[in-house]
Structures are given as structure tokens and as C-alpha cells.
């Protein structure tokens, strides 16, 4: 622009119409911000995820072997082409108790450099009885840092076979890059679901082989995770690792075999030693027992002789006692005799005394007569004689008395002897009794000893038998032992790792649709604005033309104006949008991925450039078209007022029945609507876009929620699915079904076959679950087969199989078509599809047992049991699952309610995205309506001013304008409903991940909310417009037509 005046005019124009300039600037900025921002969210999510994994030095490849891995394996993997590093780690699933619950935890060793955990609280474990706990779990459980937890293995083995101790102190809370979201994976113990992970130092494991090896691929770190480049690089390296796996498997097998054989040999040696020892011990014990018996018998003999001696002593004593009694009797009779003698003596004495008295009396009588004297003499003699006799008798008595006394003394000493003898006997008897007791004790001891020795011997024999059995067992096992198998996984084996990528994909799908609408509207708005500007400046264009300016100089002003506004808007929009939108969205996903704090928001120039280029093309093309039509006209023509626009009859007028009934305000409105087609189109599109965006926002939620509602309440009526253990015996497996039938809290259960198969129609093979119920009649109690749209129920028949909807669509098959099942053993098998049924989670192919037999040529082997619980709560179902898993025949349990958790996770993240969508939609509606109304009012300012002059009240003038707006809003909302429904269909299909079908529905209430919000936005804008209408100056009506 060389022309100075024109240049000045250009800048003056911008200053004067700053409002218009800014409105283009902002609408372009918002459009570009939304477009590039939402689009950039997808790569930014991948960058952020990748940055997080790089920061944690995340492994790329995980190798697991059925028989453990050795240092040699690590060395071998390190040698593999494309591997930059490899480390071994240990892990084990264990049970532990938290509050009332028994939960399963995944105990893993802290790796030296890879998969670094993030310490959230406390400190990392340092000694072998310390551990760090999953922070998500710790926050919700009753456990705290400093508490101890005790693990048990949940299998027949001891946990201490694997860990050095079973009790650990929690020293800290950590998050791990291996568990980015809420899921912790599944297990074969407990209730089948891992609730938390626990990190312990390497030393806490007593295993002599690693349970897994983690490796990193060269160059993978520089690639962005969740992209094809990364996946391809890792899968290349995985191929290389798999190439060496056969050798390593063989090496490990040989090593184990060699070790085992040595061990068995040792065992045999030990067994032989033990046997010898046992024999020796047996002999020794027998000898000892024999000695003991001999001793006891001797003691008994001695005791017996002592006893007989005692008997004879007692007899002797008895005789002696008899003798004494006899002597006593003799003494007593002697005494009696003596007493009698004494009596007779006394009588003699008395006689003598009487004689004496007679004598004395005679003597005293003085008579000396002989007679008397003789008598006296005689008497005297007699007395003398009598006295001598008495003295003799007395002497005799005295001697008898002495004799008696000595005899008595002899007897008394005899009694004393007896008493002492008796004492001796009593002592001897006591001695004998104690001797007998001693002997009895001795026997008891003997028998005890004997029993003990026998028990010990039996025990020893048992041990030897056991050892022999073990040895035989070990030999048998060794003979049976298969070569180990290596499983080489990439990161997708980690729980929810792929979910993050899926979410990024979902974001891309959203980014492909939503911003486009936004952008389209923005482009249309700037188009209208520029057209209006050119139209307004008709006279000026004419003047410049008349003055002789070339067309390009005149057009240059408008093109420059649009260019400046658009470029500035694009740049600002790009700069702000690419930071704000990805930030909001990644932060929103942070609800799900709580520990992925790393946010990377690099500028993705391709989106910004795309958006800027597209908006430039739109506005410039619009401006150019508007200019060119004006520029083609003659200068004179331009300076005259434009011919009034033709009023025209509308279609409605041809229906007098309706037309007559309209008052002419309505007639005018209807004609206006038709006349301003551009405005009609723009407003309907703008409002429709707004309505559609909100509808899609609400609809996505409805559809995701429908998975739960429909799948759980209408289709999948069971609550748990027990997978039976292949390696358990038939009885054990039957036990599971029997137990479930008996179980109080299980209302119904059914056996079936559930196995993953590969199906296709020729090109491409897909994994689906083949489900064959044992009891076809009962099957509808567990799974409802029906059409999604017509609700028609299907029965399983022997004629054909029923396939779930999403897979049917993927394969492009209809009822009546035939699909191929690719079986590893039996080759390709064909089966006819009899119906396609509604299903949301996973893919299933249902068959009757008879059909299975005709397809596979053999009876199905039932490997799963479905069960229902009364209240359908997860707690009930899990309780049953926990009990059932204790049975040998049950391998794992999956719960229908897991689905609910998964869906809720999805929803929590989407909520924020939906709020962003709704706010954006509101902004869009506001900007569009405001802009269009503004243009409308400016364009019709004269008409409105005239109405005012004619005496229309402000309210009436507003009503005149609003009537059109209301109609447009309603039409727009209706259009939006249709558009939203179509968009929703599109988005739902695109955001779906492979194994899930989202609902195809939008709830009526969502339509209502979307509609009300649209009306609300429309009311707000119209409210703001009222003031603008009120300000219209009536003097405008006097001005000439522009």
C-alpha cells in the first residue's frame, strides 16, 4: 500500500470500528484456541505420559518365566540386540488382613534403577522387614505408616518360602509407574483381585531366582509412549528377545534338572543314613528295655523272700504270745492258790488267836489245876505248834509269792518283747509296701519307655516312608517336568497402561469433531462480519472508485483488515489455547491418573498452523467475495442508495388457512426470517452447534453410563463368574458347582464353557469369548439375548450361534451369515449366525452344547460357573468369590461389579471434559448470538427507528426483533438436536475402545438440559440486546438509506 491516504484510512478504520475488529479477533482467537487446544490435548497427553514414564525410568519389556529367571538370563537378555539394560526383580501375591477384610496384595522388590516408585509420604523401606505401601490403598484403608502388616501365602506353601519374614513395618506410601490408575490387576489367590501393591527391599525375598526381568529397549526412551513408533520399536526388540527365549528356557531346564538330580541323590543318601540310624536306635532301645525288666524282676524276688520271712516272724510272735498267755494263766492260778493258802493261814491264825485267848483267859483265871495246867500246857503246846505251823505257812506263802512275782516279771518282759517284735514287723511291712510301689513304678516306667521307644521308632519309620514318598514324588515330578516357558510382555501388560492410550485416542476423536464445529462457526461469523463491513462502506468504495483507485487497492483495505484481525486472533488463540485446553484436560484426567503429575504442553505447530490457515482462508475468501461483488458495480451505482431489498412472499402465504391466522407481526417475522437467509442459516447453525455440543457432552455420559445400566441390569444378570482350574481333578471342579448350589447367599448358578477363540470372515481375526451354557433352558436367567433396537428376545437354538453386536459389526455379518472359527487343533470351523444380540462389554459367541458338538465334533468341557447373589451387591458377590476360591477346583473369579468401577473411573475423568465442552458451547452460543444480533440490529436500525417513531414502545420493538430470535433459537435447537444426535453417534463409535460398546442412547433429560441451557444462553443474549435496542436513536429514521 503505497498510498499514504489509504494507509491512514486503514488504521483509522481499525480504530473507529474497534468493536468489529475485536469481534473478528476474538472469534478467530476462540476458534483457533479451541481447535488447536483440543487437538493438541491428544499428543500432549501422550507427551505427558511419556515424560512421566521416562522420569520413572519405566521398563519397556517384561520377561516372566514359569520357572524363574537367573543372572545368566539377565546377562543373555542384556546381550540381545536392541536391549539397552535389563534388571531382575522379585514379586509375589500375598494375602493380608486390613480391618475385617482379607485382601490380596502384590509384593514386589524395589528395582535398582527401573520402575522407580514415587515416595508420597514417609520413607522408603531400608531393612528386610520394612515395606512401602500403595498410597491409594493406604489413604483409604485403616492402616497407617508405622503399622505392621502380616502376609500369608494364600496357597499351601508358607509365605516364608518366598519372603524372609511374614511381618513388615510400613515405612512409607508410594505410587508406582506400573500402576497408573485404580486397577491393581488380578491374581489366583484370595478373591482374585489385587487390592494394593507393596514394595520391599530386594533382601526381603529369599528366592534364589528372579521372578521377572525388566528390560529397556534402545532408543525407546526417545520415542513417545503410546505412539506407533514406540510400539513398533518395542515389538521389534521383543521379537529379538523371543528369539533367544528357547535357548534360555532349555538352559534353565537343564540347570533345574541337574540341581534336582543332585538333590534327589542327596535325599537318597540321607534316607539311607536315616534308616541305618533307626535300626541302631531300635536295637539299643530293646537292650535297654531288657535290662530294665531284669532289674525289676530281681527286685520282685527279693521282695517276695522278705515277705515270707516276715510271715514266719509273725507266726513265731504269735506262739510266743500264746506261751505268755499260758504262763500268765499259771501265774494267776498260783496266785489264787496262794490267796487260798493265805486265807487258810489267816483262818489258822484266827484259830490260834482264839486258842491263845482261851489260853490267856484260862491262864488269867488263875486256876492252876493241872487239868487246867495240863490243859494249859496242852494248850500252850498247841499254841506253839500252831504258831510254828503258821510261820511255816507264812514262809511258804512268802516263797510262793516271790515265785509268782518272778514269773510275772518274766511274763511282762515277754510282752515287751512282743511289742518290739510287732514294731519290727510293721516296719518290715511298710518296707515291703514301698518296695512293691517301687516295683510298680518301675514297671510303669518300663512300659512308658517301651511305648516311647516304639512311637519313636514308628515315627522314624514314618519319616523315612514320607521321605521315600517325597523322593518318589520328586522323581516323578522331575520326570514330568516341562521346559519352562518365557512370557515376554510390553507395557500393555500393566494394568490400565493401555487405558491411558485409549483415553488419548478418545480425546483425539473428540478433537476431530468438536473443534471443527467451533471453528466452522467462528469462520462463518467472521464471514458475516466482513460482508457487513463491505456492505456498509458501499459509498466509500464508490467514492474511491470514482476517484480512480484500482480495485486491488480498495479491496486491499478490507483484505488487510480481515488479515490483521485473523492473524492476530489465530496467533493469540494458538498461544493460549494450546496451553489452556490441554492443561485442563490432562488435569481432568489426573482424577484417574492421580500420580502422573508430569504435564508436558509443547506447542504443536501443525494444529496452530492448520487453524490459522483455515481461518485465513475463510475470512479472506469471504472478504474477497463481498468486495468483488461491490467492486464490479459502477462507481455511480455505488454512490446511490442500494435498491430496496425485494419483499417476497413465502411458502406459508400459499396456505391461507395458516397465514390468515397469523397477525402481521408474525407475518413480518416469518418474511424477515426467509429474507435474511444468511442470518437464518448462521443463527440456526450457531445455536444448533451449541445445542449439539451440549447434547454430545451429556450424551457421552449417558452412553457410558448405559454400559452399566444395560449390561448389568438388562443383559448380564449374573454377579460372578468362577473359572475352574484346568489342572484340578474333575471331583474338585464339580465341588465348586456343588458348593455354589448349596451356598446360602447364591440364588442361582449354572455351569458353562467360556473360552477365548479367534473368529473371522476371511480377512482379519478377532478374539471373542465362546460361551456354551450347560443348561440352555436356564441360560436366559443369566444372560439375556435381545435386539438393541426392537428388544426382541432371542433363544439359543441348535441351528445357529448368537454373536454380540459390536463384533457382528466389526465382521460385517448379519443373521444367516457364516463365520469362521480358527482353532489351533481343529483348523477352521464354520458356524452359522442365527442372531445378533445387544452387548456392551467384551465380545461373545453363544452356542448350545449340541451346536458346539456339531461344530467342534466333541462335547464341550465346562470350565466356568456363573452365579447370582440376592442383592446384587459387590460385597456379597466378593464374599462368595472369596470362599469359592479356597476350593482347589476354582482358579479365579471375575465380578460383574468390576465393570461398574471401571465405568465410574471413565466417567470421573470425562466429567471435567464435559464441563469444558458445555462452557465452550455456552461461549460459542453467546458469541454467535451476540454477533448476529448485533449485525441484525445495525442492519435494520432504520426500520427499528421508524417503528419507534411510529410509536412502538421499547417492549414492542424488542418483541418485534425477539420474535425472530425466538423462532431462530427454537429452529436452531431442533436442528442442534438432530445434529447432536448424529455427532453423538459418530463420536461414540470413534471413542469406543475395541472391547467395549458404549450405549447409543441420549437420555431424554439430556435433551431437556441441553435445550434449557440453549434457551438460557439465548435469553441472556437477548437480554443484553434489549439495552442496545433501547438506545437506537429515532433520528436514524430520518437518514438516507445507506
Amino acid at each position: 500500500m503505497k498510498k499514504k491516504a489509504l494507509r491512514k484510512d486503514f488504521f483509522m478504520e481499525i480504530r473507529r470500528s474497534l468493536g468489529r475488529f475485536l469481534s473478528i479477533f476474538f472469534i478467530v482467537a476462540i476458534g483457533c484456541a479451541f481447535f488447536s487446544g483440543i487437538r493438541a490435548s491428544e499428543p500432549d497427553m501422550r507427551y505427558s505420559g511419556d515424560a512421566y514414564f521416562d522420569e520413572k525410568n519405566m521398563m519397556d519389556i517384561q520377561v516372566i518365566s514359569t520357572l524363574g529367571l537367573t543372572d545368566d538370563d539377565i546377562a543373555a537378555i542384556k546381550e540381545v540386540d536392541g536391549i539397552s539394560d535389563a534388571e531382575g526383580g522379585y514379586s509375589v501375591d500375598a494375602l493380608c488382613t486390613e480391618g475385617e477384610n482379607q485382601i490380596v496384595v502384590h509384593v514386589m522388590s524395589l528395582l535398582p534403577s527401573m520402575n522407580q516408585v514415587q515416595l508420597e509420604e514417609g520413607r522408603l523401606p531400608e531393612t528386610e522387614n520394612e515395606c512401602a505401601m500403595d498410597v491409594d490403598f493406604l489413604n483409604e484403608s485403616s492402616l497407617e505408616i508405622g503399622d505392621t502388616i502380616t502376609f500369608s501365602s494364600g496357597t499351601g506353601d508358607e509365605i516364608t518360602d518366598t519372603l524372609t519374614t511374614d511381618t513388615f513395618t510400613i515405612t512409607g506410601a508410594v505410587s508406582s509407574p506400573a500402576y497408573i490408575a485404580f486397577q491393581r490387576g488380578s491374581t489366583t489367590i484370595g478373591n482374585g483381585t489385587v487390592s494394593a501393591f507393596v514394595c520391599v527391599p530386594e533382601e526381603s525375598f529369599t528366592l534364589d531366582v528372579y521372578t521377572e526381568i525388566y528390560a529397556q529397549a534402545e532408543g525407546a526412551k526417545n520415542l513417545t509412549a503410546f505412539t506407533d513408533e514406540y510400539d513398533n520399536r518395542v515389538s521389534e526388540v521383543i521379537d529379538n528377545v523371543e528369539a533367544i527365549s528357547a535357548d534360555r528356557e532349555k538352559a534353565r531346564y537343564d540347570e533345574i534338572m541337574a540341581d534336582a538330580e543332585t538333590e534327589i541323590e542327596d535325599g537318597r543318601q540321607q534316607l539311607a543314613d536315616a534308616q541305618t540310624e533307626l535300626e541302631e536306635g531300635k536295637a539299643e532301645a530293646e537292650q535297654e528295655l531288657a535290662d530294665a525288666r531284669q532289674k525289676l524282676e530281681d527286685a520282685q524276688a527279693e521282695l517276695d523272700s522278705g515277705k515270707s520271712e516276715l510271715e514266719s516272724s509273725i507266726t513265731e510272735l504269735q506262739n510266743f504270745r500264746q506261751q505268755l498267755n499260758d504262763s500268765q494263766a499259771q501265774v494267776d492260778s498260783g496266785q489264787e492258790e496262794l490267796n487260798a493258802n493265805i486265807d487258810s493261814l489267816n483262818a489258822q491264825i484266827d484259830q490260834l488267836n482264839a486258842v491263845k485267848e482261851q489260853y490267856n483267859a484260862l491262864a488269867s483265871s488263875g486256876q492252876t489245876d493241872d487239868v487246867t495246867m495240863a490243859t494249859l500246857r496242852a494248850m500252850y503246846e498247841e499254841i506253839q505248834k500252831g504258831e510254828t505251823a503258821i510261820a511255816d505257812a507264812q514262809a511258804q506263802i512268802e516263797s510262793a509269792k516271790a515265785e509268782l512275782e518272778s514269773a510275772q516279771a518274766q511274763i511282762n518282759s515277754g510282752w515287751e518283747q512282743i511289742t518290739s517284735g510287732e514294731q519290727q514287723i510293721a516296719d518290715a511291712q511298710a518296707e515291703i509296701t514301698s518296695g512293691e510301689q517301687e516295683i510298680a513304678d518301675g514297671w510303669e516306667e518300663y512300659y512308658d519307655g517301651e511305648a516311647e521307644a516304639q512311637a519313636e521308632i514308628a515315627d522314624g519309620e514314618q519319616q523315612i516312608a514320607d521321605a521315600q514318598a517325597d523322593l518318589a514324588d520328586a522323581e516323578a515330578r522331575l520326570a514330568d517336568m516341562e521346559e519352562p516357558v518365557w512370557y515376554v510382555y510390553d507395557r500393555s501388560n500393566l494394568p490400565e497402561y493401555t487405558g491411558y492410550g485409549d483415553n488419548a485416542d478418545r480425546m483425539r476423536a473428540i478433537g476431530e469433531v468438536f473443534p471443527v464445529i467451533f471453528f466452522l462457526v467462528a469462520a462463518l461469523i467472521s464471514l458475516t462480519t466482513m460482508t457487513r463491513m463491505v456492505e456498509e462502506q458501499r459509498t466509500q468504495i464508490g467514492t474511491l472508485k470514482a476517484l480512480g483507485y484500482e480495485r486491488h487497492s480498495i479491496a486491499g483495505k478490507y483484505l488487510g483488515y480481515a488479515l490483521l484481525a485473523t492473524v492476530a486472533g489465530s496467533v493469540i488463540g494458538f498461544l493460549i489455547g494450546e496451553k489452556i485446553f490441554p492443561y485442563i484436560i490432562i488435569t481432568a484426567y489426573g482424577i484417574m491418573y492421580q500420580h502422573m503429575h508430569t504435564i508436558q504442553l509443547p506447542y504443536n505447530f501443525q494444529y496452530g498452523l492448520g487453524a490459522a490457515a483455515a481461518s485465513l482462508v475463510c475470512t479472506l475468501a469471504a472478504t474477497f467475495m463481498a468486495c468483488s461483488s461491490e467492486l464490479k458495480a459502477q462507481a455511480a451505482e455505488l454512490m446511490r442508495p442500494p435498491a430496496p431489498k425485494h419483499g417476497q412472499r413465502v411458502l406459508l402465504e400459499r396456505i391461507p388457512f395458516v397465514w390468515k391466522r397469523l397477525n402481521f407481526s408474525w407475518k413480518a417475522s416469518v418474511r424477515n426470517l426467509v429474507r435474511y437467509k444468511k442470518r437464518l442459516f448462521m443463527t440456526v447453525f450457531g445455536i444448533g452447534g451449541c445445542m449439539a455440543l451440549m447434547l454430545v457432552g451429556f450424551g457421552i455420559k449417558d452412553s457410558i453410563f448405559a454400559i452399566v445400566e444395560r449390561q448389568y441390569d438388562e443383559i448380564q444378570l449374573y454377579d460372578g463368574n468362577v473359572i475352574l482350574n484346568d489342572s484340578a481333578s474333575q471331583e474338585e471342579r464339580d465341588q465348586v458347582f456343588a458348593d455354589l448350589q448349596e451356598y446360602d447367599n447364591v440364588t442361582d448358578s449354572a455351569e458353562g464353557l467360556l473360552t477365548q477363540i479367534s473368529v473371522g470372515t476371511g480377512d482379519g481375526w478377532y478374539d471373542v469369548y465362546l460361551s456354551v451354557p450347560e443348561d440352555v433352558e436356564q441360560f436366559s436367567n443369566f444372560t439375556v439375548l435381545k435386539d438393541r433396537i426392537t428388544d426382541e428376545r432371542y433363544e439359543l437354538t441348535d441351528e445357529g450361534a448368537v454373536l454380540t453386536e459390536k463384533m457382528a459389526k466389526e465382521l460385517g455379518v448379519k443373521p444367516g451369515d457364516t463365520i469362521t472359527i480358527r482353532d489351533e487343533d481343529k483348523g477352521d470351523l464354520n458356524v452359522q449366525i442365527s442372531a445378533v444380540c445387544e452387548n456392551y462389554m467384551g465380545h461373545y459367541l453363544y452356542m448350545t452344547p449340541a451346536l458346539y458338538e456339531s461344530v467342534y465334533g466333541g462335547e464341550p468341557e465346562y470350565n466356568s460357573v456363573l452365579y447370582k447373589v440376592p442383592d446384587r451387591t459387590s460385597a456379597e458377590a466378593e464374599k462368595v468369590g472369596e470362599d469359592i476360591l479356597k476350593l482347589e477346583g476354582a482358579l479365579s473369579v471375575s465380578y460383574t461389579t468390576d465393570l461398574v468401577d471401571q465405568v465410574n473411573d471413565m466417567l470421573s475423568a470425562l466429567d471435567a471434559v464435559i464441563v469444558v465442552l458445555i462452557i465452550s458451547a455456552g461461549m460459542l452460543a453467546f458469541v454467535v448470538l451476540y454477533n448476529l444480533n448485533n449485525i441484525n440490529i445495525t442492519e435494520r436500525q432504520r426500520e427499528l427507528a421508524t417503528l419507534k417513531v411510529l410509536g412502538f414502545y421499547n417492549g414492542e420493538v424488542s418483541a418485534y426483533v425477539y420474535r425472530e430470535n425466538i423462532v431462530l433459537t427454537l429452529i436452531g435447537a431442533l436442528f442442534g438436536m438432530v445434529l447432536g444426535k448424529i455427532l453423538h453417534q459418530f463420536i461414540i463409535v470413534t471413542v469406543e475402545i475395541d472391547s467395549v460398546m458404549f450405549g447409543r442412547n441420549i437420555n431424554a433429560v439430556s435433551f431437556l438440559y441441553g435445550f434449557l441451557l440453549t434457551i438460557l444462553f439465548s435469553c441472556l443474549v437477548n437480554g443484553a440486546m434489549y439495552f442496545k435496542l433501547k438506545r437506537i436513536n429515532m433520528v436514524e429514521s430520518l437518514k438516507s438509506v445507506e
Binding site: K667, A668, R675, R942, G951, M1034, L1038
Partner: protein, 234 residues
Amino acid sequence: MDEFVKLDDITKIYRMGEVEIRAADRISFAISKGEFVVIVGPSGAGKTTVLNILGGMDTATSGKLIVDGQDVTAYNARQLTGYRREDIGFVFQFYNLVPNLTALENVELALQICRNPLDAKEVLEEVGLGDRLDNFPAQLSGGEQQRVSIARALAKNPKLLLCDEPTGALDYNTGKAILKLLQNMCRERGMTVIVITHNQAIAPMADRLIHIKNGRVSHMEVNRHPISIDEIEW
């Protein structure tokens, strides 16, 4: 003389920053009922300001306007709208028809807000458009459009018919026809008509002629014998 319309010291001052512009400076005049009044003056003399105030489209800074005994200057915005609605008929220089409505509908547009309107069809027949009732403005010539505009104003049966340069956008003959129509309406219906124009030539047809210059009434004359427009040429 009855003072059907009376302006008393009407002053209108526009403030543009520091500058005060007196668009109308103590304008006073009175008009009797049924008169055909022509207000003339050069561009920028203050004619339009007077018209705006008379038509209730603007308020005076000071002074008083009495119409049919009512003090219009004391009206608030709503009363002013009512005044425009009931008492004033307005004929615009550029007709200001609603392009989307037919001739008949354009007239009806004014009538639907009015208390005792005339029949739209009859009025249109009266202005000579009986056969163009269903035509849109774009299908009518300038003169015809102006007739619709006059019909729209008349049909309201106003107390005062205000015409702002009614012939300004019309050719000579059409202009004359329109003025004739206005004069006839005044004579036949006894309508008070005020025509604002810069065209001095039509002055003789007025009952009352008011000259405005620099915001003041320079002079006013009453024409006892107004002549028919047919006799005027310019």
C-alpha cells in the same frame, strides 16, 4: 386564533465536549387546528430539531410545547411514545417502509398499535393505491412508496401530520402530486399538517409559513389565500 400547537421558547442545546451548539434557540410559534404549515429554512437552520421536538422524538432543553392543550415537554419517555403513537403521523423523506410488508401491511403495522384507526384499505384507496395493496415497497415507485407512507401516517388518525422533506427524494411531478395529496388531506379532513422543507417555492401553498434561520424563527407569515399546488411551479 386557537393555539392547537404552541411552542414557547423552545431551546435545544447539544453539548459536544467543550462546545455548546444551540440547534434551536428560543423558538416560539403557534399553529391553529386544520392549518397547512410549511416550515422552511436552509440546511442546518434547526428545522429538523424543531420537527424532532414536535414529533416527540427528542426533548427540548428548555421551553414548552403544548399540543391540543397538553404539555408535551413535561412527558416522560413512555408518555412521549404514547404521544407519537396516538397524536402524531410522520411522513419520512425516504418513506421508511418495512420492505418485507406489502403496502397494506405497512399501513396495518401502524394501525395495530393505535386506538381508533381508520380502515387501512380505504385510506390506501384514498391516496390512490387501491390497486397496489398487495405490492411490496420494492415493487412500487418512489411516489407510490411515499403515498403508502402518507397513508400509514393518516390511517392512525393523528392530531398532527409531520412531513420531513416529503418530496426530497422524489422527482418534480411526483413531488407535486404528493404535496397535492397532503394539501387535500388538510382541506378535506381538516388535518393539521406541518411540512418541513428547504424548498422555498412551495411556500405559497401554506396557510402559515415559518422561516427558520440559525436556530431562530426569522419570521412567520399567515397566508390568507393559499394557492393550490397545481399553480405553483419551480
